[in-house]
């Protein structure tokens, strides 16, 4: 078995084992073992990748594996990885593992919950390693569909409505995406030997006229899940209704599929379309960046604050991709990773606070630093990371994006960049507002003194997410160099 296919097989085995689990204890132990194995595999993948590159393998994708699936349509099982894939897989495996820890005490239908969670993870891994567009689309759907169940069954508040809204909007995007993928397929060969393989399609020059129509279709198809303005509204309500682990996985990993897909498919296969359309989507993404942050200021529900913050932070990912140069793309990938860990950490902490106080309204909370110091201190750290404090991943990513974006000379890009830079202030406002109201100040209610301290599994989940944030934030050189090398063949298409 090749090293990448294991990432699909391991979760499937875990799911199979979960089918035999009888109670919460068994299901969580099985999920834990399964996700620990995936985590170990992901870490191993970094070293394997570095070793592979050290042998002088300069192919765009390494660890490739190819097998025919549907001969008539030339659909193939094509997988492969570059440095970006590797880091995305590491991100996914850590968030899944942390999610299992955070769901340690889940009450209703634990077995089914963990099964849905792991199926979702399978979809995500598959999406990252696919080189065949059909396969990629399939895994995309595998990742999105369990969301409906996870929110609809284990959620809170108006969960059915939120789940419905989320699923329908994402399905709408999928429909667009399918059109885009079929378009690519039928232009993949001049002589009728059509292919879904990304690397193959990249070799033919799709006519500019076609790219002009296909690019927005593919871009929007992916960008909806990356919370592109104005298609972001599924995200706040969806997150607010979702259970903790699902919010973590969704915001932390699933929303990254958007930027990743744009990078791998839209930008790589439709470079002319990208250059033609970038101005339009830059406007949308800058609006998303600033608007998401401004909307977050006024929110009172912690999950809404974080969801709007995600709109803003992920807006930066799309913004950076649209800036079409190496540095900003590097920033986009770094921001994807950084936001993945940070937002998962935030949702984990919000879940812990909610479990104790049964409210997510910042106005009702207060003085939590006194009563649950550990969780509160980590919340402050996560907040500082989110507002782009040096030493944490957010700073590295944002600075790379801004420096990259500023290398575009014309006035339009400059103004867009400067507008984008203003988020460093707006983010500080909403983060410190929440921190000030909820964690500092006098303890609001007497019963808050009875809050239980953080448990071992909560702490483990927290550290799993915090450590990568600090690693990226303090020693970014090796990570960004790996990403930069992997970007090279992609950016060359833009010149």
């Amino acid at each position: 078995m090749d090293i990448l296919s294991l990432f699909i097989v391991a979760p499937i085995i875990t799911v199979a084992a979960l089918l035999f689990a009888k109670n919460l204890k068994q299901s969580r132990v099985i999920s834990l073992i399964g996700s620990l194995v995936q985590f170990a595999m992901a870490i191993n993948l970094i070293f394997a990748y570095l070793a592979e590159r050290a042998t002088g393998n300069t192919a765009i994708m390494v660890f490739t594996k190819s097998a025919v699936w549907f001969k008539s349509l030339n659909i193939r099982y094509d997988v492969g990885a570059d440095g970006i894939t590797v880091f995305m897989i590491v991100l996914a495996s850590i968030v899944v593992l942390a999610g299992v820890f955070i769901s340690w005490k889940i009450k209703d239908l634990p077995k089914e919950f963990f099964i849905s969670l792991i199926v979702l993870a399978t979809g995500v891994y598959g999406f990252f390693i696919s080189l065949d567009l059909f396969l990629l689309f399939l895994f995309f759907e595998v990742a999105v569909i369990p969301m409906y169940l996870l929110i609809g069954i284990w959620g809170s508040g108006p969960k059915e409505k939120s789940a419905m809204k989320l699923t329908i909007m994402l399905m709408g995007a999928s429909a667009l995406l399918l059109v885009g993928i079929l378009g690519l397929y039928f232009y993949s060969s001049p002589d009728g030997a059509y292919t879904f393989n990304i690397l193959e399609i990249a070799k033919v020059n799709i006519p500019a006229q076609v790219q002009h129509y296909l690019f927005p279709v593919v871009f929007i198809g992916f960008a909806v899940i990356g919370a592109l303005f104005p298609f972001h509204t599924w995200s706040p309500s969806g997150h607010a209704s979702a259970p903790t682990a699902v919010s973590m996985l969704h915001a932390g990993v699933l929303m990254k599929l958007g930027g990743y897909g744009v990078f791998r498919v839209a930008m790589y296969l439709l470079p002319i379309g990208a250059m033609e359309w970038s101005w339009f989507f830059i406007i949308l993404s800058v609006i998303g960046v600033v608007y998401g942050a401004l909307a977050a200021i006024k929110q009172t529900d912690l999950k809404y604050i974080n969801a709007y913050s995600s709109v803003s932070h992920l807006g930066l990912v799309l913004f950076a991709l649209l800036m079409l140069n190496k540095t900003s793309w590097n920033g986009a990938i770094l921001q994807s990773l950084s936001h993945g860990f940070m937002t998962a950490l935030f949702f984990a902490l919000i879940g812990m606070i909610y479990e104790r106080s049964h409210t997510r309204d910042v106005r009702e909370l207060g003085g939590l630093l006194k009563v649950i110091p550990f969780i509160s201190v980590i919340y402050v750290i996560a907040g500082l990371a989110s507002l782009g404090l040096p030493g944490f991943s957010g700073f590295v990513a944002e600075m790379t994006i801004f420096v990259g974006a500023f290398q575009n000379v014309d006035m339009f890009h400059r103004v867009a960049t400067i507008l984008g830079v203003t988020v460093i202030v707006i983010t500080a406002v909403y983060i410190l507002r929440a921190v000030g109201m909820m964690l500092m100040g006098p303890v609001k209610k007497e019963e808050y003194y009875n809050f239980p301290k953080a448990t071992w599994y909560e702490k483990t989940g927290i550290f799993l997410l915090l450590i990568p944030i600090i690693i990226i934030g303090t020693t970014p050189l090796w990570i960004s160099d790996i990403i930069m090398d992997s970007i090279k063949p992609f950016i060359e298409r833009m010149l």
Binding site: K165, I168, M169, P230, F231, H232, T233, W234, S237, Y291, L294, A295, I297, K298, Q299, K326, T327, N330, G367, L369, K370, L384, G388, L389, P390, G391, F395, V396, M399, T400, F402, V403, G404, F406, Q407, V409, T417, I418, V421, T422, I424, V425, A428, V429, L432, R433, G436, L439, M440, G441, P442, V443, P476, L477, S480, D481, M484
Partner: protein, 638 residues
């Protein structure tokens, strides 16, 4: 010369921070305090040794002080050419700053052993002090502008954490937030300035940027924007960042509120070190500021500095909280340093302003830290910040009284104190450049002497108040730093600063300018005299005077309502109008239109589904109607 050991100067406080931060619930306060003090003592000794080695063992090479890179490593690559380094840059001003930061930080570390004794968060306090000291070291030894920005943000957050040290006090939380957000807003300028440099200069490295013979300075204007060189814009924007950190008008509003932090923190961060970072930034990039566009930005620096120093000094005369008086005094004195930089030239004696600014930065750090620590000692004794709760304390607190008196003399520019020498250099530099700025400076000198002795007389003389507990002198851990700093408020005046620090690094001879010095001293003495008459004994003169000035006094007392103006803009406009309307727009327009699309789909399917009635008659009807329609269509078409 090998200076690689200098890497440990910042690293030691970093390790102390990590150690105390991780174990802060487990350690005994005494141990935590000892670790903090010992760690910093080591860094301080290393800094002093570096200063000695740099200035005396190495000295000038070819008539100028050289720049040494103690250590350097690439932190991240942006492009093939553009990257951020982390390293240690040693030149006269960075070494001077190392000495200042080390000295004040060590004094504050020792002083806090007594001042913070028994506080619940004692360990946390020492962890944050270490974090601050680490970040400040990182800032002053930065090898490039981006490293400086990184540590600039880190000192900002340390300041946030320390202002909000009493986090259950709403006013402290609000002050911490305000300080962070206002300086962050200013940093926006700094960051955009850096971005401009990243493109047009193609480097962040100070040695390349600042080289007077280098490409950036000698190639001149380059691209221009709205009549000014883009580099000039970058410098203006970076000065905005500096003005935010250094509390220059109109970005000063956070500094008075920052006094919510523990007093030793105010002494360290908000008087001696972090708030002069803006001055240091301009000094660090002085060749650029001086040569690009003929020093256009320096004029802005000079006027902003002069205005702030006047503005803050006027407000300081009316405040009743001693820490706030000191805060406004700090603003005023930093304005002094800025104006000195602004009027400075470059070569030899023309660079007097530059040297004077650095000299004043040095002396001010010492006497202002002493004033704050002295104020802390008083607050510790009477448990209040307000002047009305103090009076006649000289009997109870002799050491605090004498040291505070020395510091007050020094800041007032009394002869033979260090402040006298540094202020004289600033006034001489201003006099040579612009008479207007000189007279502003002179007037501020008088005001400074007045407000400083106003608080001195009110605290230590005047009528004795009835105290709940009899005030007593502070413990040795607090008085020893006071005594040491009192010595440092006098002695540095006798160092020939111009031998060590000058804009062109060559050194020059600076002489006392007697006519100007005498004028300044007389002005100061008048200020002291007025304060003596007003406040030595309790009387009703101050009240009468404030009545005569009426509205002007009220305006000044309310700090010219600048805070209210900001509050109006942020609370009313940004929070309630902009942000609220965005949140509303998102919910009502965007989300609802998405839901509307969904509802429309449901509604139309609701309508269409009637077609699927399951009745054969209906289907037959539709089939026939359809067939007829098609027939008609084709008939008509042909």
């Amino acid at each position: 010369m090998n200076f690689s050991y200098t890497l440990f100067i910042p690293l030691i406080p970093l390790f102390v921070f990590l150690f105390l931060g991780i174990l802060h619930t487990k350690l005994k306060p005494k141990l935590a305090g000892t670790i903090g003090v010992l760690g910093l003592s080591t860094s301080t000794l290393l800094s002093y040794y570096t200063a000695y080695k740099y200035f005396f063992e190495v000295g000038k090479v070819d008539g100028v002080y050289q720049t040494f890179i103690g250590a350097k490593t690439t932190w991240i690559n942006f492009t093939e050419l553009l990257h951020i380094d982390m390293g240690v840059l040693l030149d006269p001003i960075s070494i001077m700053m190392l000495v200042v930061v080390s000295t004040i930080s060590l004094m504050v570390h020792i002083y806090s052993l007594g001042y913070m004794k028994g506080e619940a968060g004692f360990n946390r306090y020492y962890a944050f002090l270490s974090l601050f000291t680490f970040s400040m070291y990182g800032l002053v030894i930065a090898t490039n502008i981006f490293q400086m920005y990184i540590f600039w943000e880190l000192v900002g957050v340390s300041s946030f954490l320390l202002i909000g040290y009493y986090y259950d006090k709403p006013s402290a939380v609000a002050a911490a937030k305000k300080a962070f957000i206002v300086t962050r807003f200013a940093d926006l300028g700094f960051l955009i300035g850096i971005l401009i440099l990243s493109y047009y200069a193609g480097t962040f490295d100070f040695q390349i940027l600042n080289n007077p013979q280098g490409a950036i300075i000698s190639n001149g204007i380059g691209a221009s924007f709205m009549g000014l060189s883009v580099i000039t814009w970058a410098l203006i924007l970076m000065f905005v960042g500096g003005a935010g950190k250094s509390a220059m008008f109109p970005l000063h509003i956070w500094l008075p509120d920052a006094m919510e932090g523990p007093t030793p923190v105010s002494a360290l961060i908000h008087a001696a070190t972090m708030v002069v970072a803006g001055v240091y930034l301009v000094a660090r990039m002085f060749p650029l500021y001086y040569f690009i566009d003929g020093g256009f930005v320096l004029q802005i620096v000079a006027y902003v500095g002069a205005f702030t120093s006047l503005f803050a000094a006027i407000i300081a005369c009316t405040q009743n909280d001693i820490k706030r008086v000191l805060a406004f005094s700090t603003m005023s004195q930093i304005g002094y340093m800025m104006l000195a930089l602004g009027v400075s030239g470059y070569d030899g004696h023309e660079g007097l302003g530059y040297m004077a600014s650095m000299f004043h930065l040095f002396t001010h750090a010492m006497f202002k830290a002493l004033l704050f620590l002295g104020a802390g000692s008083v607050i510790h004794a009477v448990h209040s910040n307000l002047m009305k709760d103090m009076g006649g304390l000289r009997k109870y607190m002799p050491i605090t009284n004498i040291t505070f008196f020395i510091a007050a003399l020094s800041i007032s520019g009394f002869p033979f104190t260090s402040g006298f020498f540094s202020k004289d250099e600033i006034l001489s530099a201003a006099f040579e450049n612009s008479k207007l700025i000189y007279f502003v400076g002179l007037f501020v000198a008088g005001l400074t002497a007045f407000y400083m002795f106003r608080i001195y007389f009110s605290i230590f003389w005047g009528k004795e108040k009835t105290y709940k507990h009899t005030p007593h002198e502070s413990p040795l851990s607090m008085t020893i730093p006071l005594i040491l700093l009192a010595i440092l408020s006098i002695a540095p005046g006798y160092i020939h600063f111009s031998d060590f620090i000058s804009a062109d690094r060559g050194g020059f001879e600076a002489h006392l300018n007697y006519p100007l010095a005498i004028t300044a001293v007389v002005t100061g003495l008048i200020g002291i005299l007025v304060a003596y008459v007003f406040y030595k004994k309790e009387n009703n003169i101050p009240e009468k005077v404030s009545k005569t000035f009426g509205a002007i006094y009220t305006w000044t007392y309310h700090k010219f309502y600048i805070d209210e103006l900001y509050l109006f803009v942020t609370k009313k406009i940004i929070f309630n109008i902009v942000s609220a309307s965005f949140a509303w727009f998102d919910k009502k327009v965007i989300d609802d239109s998405m839901i509307g699309i969904g509802d429309a789909t449901i509604n139309s399917s609701e309508k269409i589904k009637k077609l699927q009635s399951g009745k054969f008659q209906d289907y037959a009807t539709w089939f026939i109607l359809g067939a007829i329609a098609l027939v008609l269509y084709f008939l008509y078409k042909n």
